[in-house]
Symmetry: D2
Amino acid sequence: MQAARLHEYTEEMSEALTVEEIDRPELERSDHVLVEVAGAGWCQTDNHVIEGMWTEYVPQELPMTLGHENAGVVAEVGEEVTLVEEGDPVICHPVQTCGICRPCRLGEDMYCENSAFNGLTTDGGFAEYLQTNERAVIPLPDSVDPTEIAPHADAGITAYHAAKKAVRELNPGDTAVVVGIGGLGHIGLQCLEAMSAADVVAVDIKDEALELAERLGATHTVNSSEEDLAQVVDDLTDGGGVQQILDFVGSDETAGYGTEIAAAGADQHVIGYGGHIHEPCQALVDGELSLKGTLVGRYAELQELVALVDRDLVELHTSRYDLGEINDVAEALEHGEIEGRAVILPP
Amino acid sequence: MQAARLHEYTEEMSEALTVEEIDRPELERSDHVLVEVAGAGWCQTDNHVIEGMWTEYVPQELPMTLGHENAGVVAEVGEEVTLVEEGDPVICHPVQTCGICRPCRLGEDMYCENSAFNGLTTDGGFAEYLQTNERAVIPLPDSVDPTEIAPHADAGITAYHAAKKAVRELNPGDTAVVVGIGGLGHIGLQCLEAMSAADVVAVDIKDEALELAERLGATHTVNSSEEDLAQVVDDLTDGGGVQQILDFVGSDETAGYGTEIAAAGADQHVIGYGGHIHEPCQALVDGELSLKGTLVGRYAELQELVALVDRDLVELHTSRYDLGEINDVAEALEHGEIEGRAVILPP
Amino acid sequence: MQAARLHEYTEEMSEALTVEEIDRPELERSDHVLVEVAGAGWCQTDNHVIEGMWTEYVPQELPMTLGHENAGVVAEVGEEVTLVEEGDPVICHPVQTCGICRPCRLGEDMYCENSAFNGLTTDGGFAEYLQTNERAVIPLPDSVDPTEIAPHADAGITAYHAAKKAVRELNPGDTAVVVGIGGLGHIGLQCLEAMSAADVVAVDIKDEALELAERLGATHTVNSSEEDLAQVVDDLTDGGGVQQILDFVGSDETAGYGTEIAAAGADQHVIGYGGHIHEPCQALVDGELSLKGTLVGRYAELQELVALVDRDLVELHTSRYDLGEINDVAEALEHGEIEGRAVILPP
Amino acid sequence: MQAARLHEYTEEMSEALTVEEIDRPELERSDHVLVEVAGAGWCQTDNHVIEGMWTEYVPQELPMTLGHENAGVVAEVGEEVTLVEEGDPVICHPVQTCGICRPCRLGEDMYCENSAFNGLTTDGGFAEYLQTNERAVIPLPDSVDPTEIAPHADAGITAYHAAKKAVRELNPGDTAVVVGIGGLGHIGLQCLEAMSAADVVAVDIKDEALELAERLGATHTVNSSEEDLAQVVDDLTDGGGVQQILDFVGSDETAGYGTEIAAAGADQHVIGYGGHIHEPCQALVDGELSLKGTLVGRYAELQELVALVDRDLVELHTSRYDLGEINDVAEALEHGEIEGRAVILPP
Ligand SMILES: [Zn+2]
Ligand SMILES: [Zn+2]
Ligand SMILES: [Zn+2]
Ligand SMILES: [Zn+2]
Ligand SMILES: [Zn+2]
Ligand SMILES: [Zn+2]
Ligand SMILES: [Zn+2]
Ligand SMILES: [Zn+2]
Ligand SMILES: [Zn+2]
Ligand SMILES: [Zn+2]
């Protein structure tokens, strides 16, 4: 089968992956599931993997097929699989968990001690077929198109996971700030709208992004390259500050927003990454600010996100590309030139 | 009356405060309470106030009587006070709150929008008398000596507040790390012991502090100037890491412990301050680490801490000094030479 | 001033209250507030008070002016009041709390140990003026009409309080059941819609009520006098049952719904009352069903509800009556003949 | 192998089960585990199963080997099992879960949609061997004797599960009431002591049970056949009532304790069963009392309980019997004549 693989870490996106012919994966365990990929979202994390930025955090062996945002149709199942059968459309949670370790038993899929992460620690879905397991697939309702929903497998669930944590702390009359209305942020914004009655301030440096935010329900928009965010927030909240910040950018600058615009007891959810946090401890102590790292989300949360999509409460902006164009996509995202979320279509 | 007052910010502790004669405070509101001070704890925060380190966080006008850890006996009450009367022994929550703003209505005393903080934004208790209000005093049970309990008004409640947040996330079999077994840390450790069944690892650079920790129930102790904390934790937890970190030190070094020893989904409570946090966003994202600033605690939490003291579940190590020795105490704490918690006794 | 007062408990609604001339209340404390009433909602609880049904639960002295759902304009304030001043439009939380007892300090206004409940334990607002206190009034935004919002002071906040508890447990894909789409239920339904993405099943015995529910966003409606609720729920949830039940009726029959339609781990919120719960303990044990009594709501929750109203997320159906018609209203509600929520207008 | 089996529902305990020779179970799935039983606790639920009291709640086919509180040594494992191997000592969570359904993914083992419950819906452990699965076994530390810990598989985890829910709501200074200091209650009491600093009132009708409670740390004991519980609680709590009630009895009488002794906002955990709840809805509404059914506990909670046992924080009183004496045990428990917890030893 065709697959787009990384052979060497590089800063050069235009030649990052090699599209080549490899063997179709074989099912080796009774709970394995083979999925014929209908679509695979391209993600900022793919760029980070190519740059070698994950080598100190997770075990990685090259060459590896990238792609962790997959949906498709079940092609084959292990002998003890009961949840799905051949022909079922599914979305694939990116992490294949064991179901046995203590984190798994607590529902904390992302902390599984025996997991494989598609396209990060094991072969992913920029390919015709993806091997995953029963605990990683979610059957799709008829209303949902696998190609269209693919990016939700990571972009969607990551945004949903952060939004769900924020919603728990948001009351009517409170304000949330969404920083970065891109692939993840525009989903996070919709999740906040669907699950809370809080006011939402959308922050970006592109006016089109802010127009999208407005259309998706943002109460206010701020172009942070032109306006002083701290001042705007101060005006909007009568000096009180905001209760929740969802930072989908994670630059040096946005990482510092919490100390400028947060109400007492607020959370800043650190979702995007790339930049640094640099604050005096006292800046967190005064006002009891929390900086909360957040990473993908649970299997059960992806079920909940599928329910939102099924009810038309979350829409996703995608643009489609062939597998052969994959390095162009990598390059384009690096320069912020992808409209919506790129979905790669295998041949 | 006699009071120890700050006239100018300075790095020179040995001459920081002036003990002088000022007017006894007058009660101006129907809810005011005048307390004859029986003891006032000296705190690292007093050193920080003297250095001017709080000027950019709170409004401060000099000269000001310092002292935010007070207990004593009610000397006079405003006309609508019902909770206490003349002669009642009380401990004083350091913050005089309004009871009217939204944070007050949510029980979030520390976030009150109309508050006065003894010894930080208004005159405190290094004096014969302290003016406070009905919402800031807690009647003491007979078993408790006001002079002895005074430091709990801030050191105690700050430690309790952080420990209570940690306990909510600690299950039997989990591990908590207490960094710094000083005035706050030795209380935090006892709160963890009283309210959870988690294993507790005590970290300090002084062996006497670690001996105290052991006597107070710590499961393990680590002298971080001699042992490699990350290695010790790795061994103790079979590579799993710890669930909760309570950093009572807040130096550049301790602020980084979370990324070295935390289990997935862990919290590092930032309690001590003075140092900086400096981490890549990715270090928080991977493993979903949270850095949570924490500041003093609620009035209701001070009630709970008094209940612990009343049940002999938390003991406090104090050494007593006269008001005239106050600058010696400031100097001694700066050099880590105070044994237990210093309590200043007014004349 | 004119006031509608209860002199004797009775089952006879048509002569329950006496409209008579009494003295306008005097402010006696520094935090007292006198409100000129713009509207006062009539409530099922008023019928229950008239019947003497609250005598074994709270202290009550007759004669008493009824009326606990009030809004109006501040006419006079005690000397230490800062939150409002003469002329400010306000809604009145029905409970005047002390701000000093431990429940108050925890934000639990309903559990205050020194409270007065308008129209239940002290004179209420079926009158020209109502005496309340600073901790019970919430300033209204300009967009909100005091007469129109009055019933939210109890009907609204009670529904909001229950809905907020339910929302905390409701994920997308889950189902909530609202039993009784009357004065409270139609607000509860809107609160669920505004703050969650769960499916909502509305249950009533009147078709007009169900039409209203549908218009307000209910996913499904069930006329329980014609359809078998358990069967409908079974079909809708593939046999899984519902996660949250909000029972605004509280009859013998509705009190038993939980054991018929609940998913494992579900909550049945007991809001309406009048009937009995009668279940074997085993019926709660198997499936871990919780029956949760719920009563009015916190001051901070009424702030949140005002924010929802201000954002047009909750609408209220009212019909207006003069103070002189008050016994007709009592009689009509007893027979289920009030359209929307009745609001009494003082002369 | 020898097994004690139920062939017919009966009220006659002395002849309830037949000890007979049946085939040793065969492993049929890759995750199956065969355990050589070292001990099997006898439980009030076994009496209830014999009486047919569970037939309307779960599917049951006779004959069936009873016994749901098991520990022993792994005798054989399915081919994909990695958690344990032959020779490992284990305790058996009573429910074999699927790991695939949504409740399993949320960590809610007791709500699994594809589960088998040892001795309740499938053959249990009053036998030489028990077939279970990888998701139901927990490896034991060396310090723990399988025979001795067996009853924790249900009695222990049920008590722990309820205690853990209660602890979340218990602050220092609060009071919990434990009703029934028998097989479950004496464990629940120890869990409360280990994980909270609340005062604990133990209630029973036998003085020996109360002596045990006192030795295990109860703050107060009440013989409810001699003393007026409501009066005692009123005195102990200055009229405030208790925050948490754990009812391990579940009789008509104890089910009503909540409305007599609860503080506002309290929970009554319904753990024991047999009796009925009969209350006016208003009794729950006034004071916001919650009645919370609770059933066994999660796998992760059994891990936590094993950690408590390993740290000597929970002790268990057992008396041992041969398999041939099993009907005598059934009869004796029915008359309250078992000292501690009965453990059946297979031949
Ligand atoms: Zn991604
Ligand atoms: Zn796992
Ligand atoms: Zn730096
Ligand atoms: Zn201090
Ligand atoms: Zn305030
Ligand atoms: Zn009402
Ligand atoms: Zn109060
Ligand atoms: Zn049992
Ligand atoms: Zn399951
Ligand atoms: Zn009955």
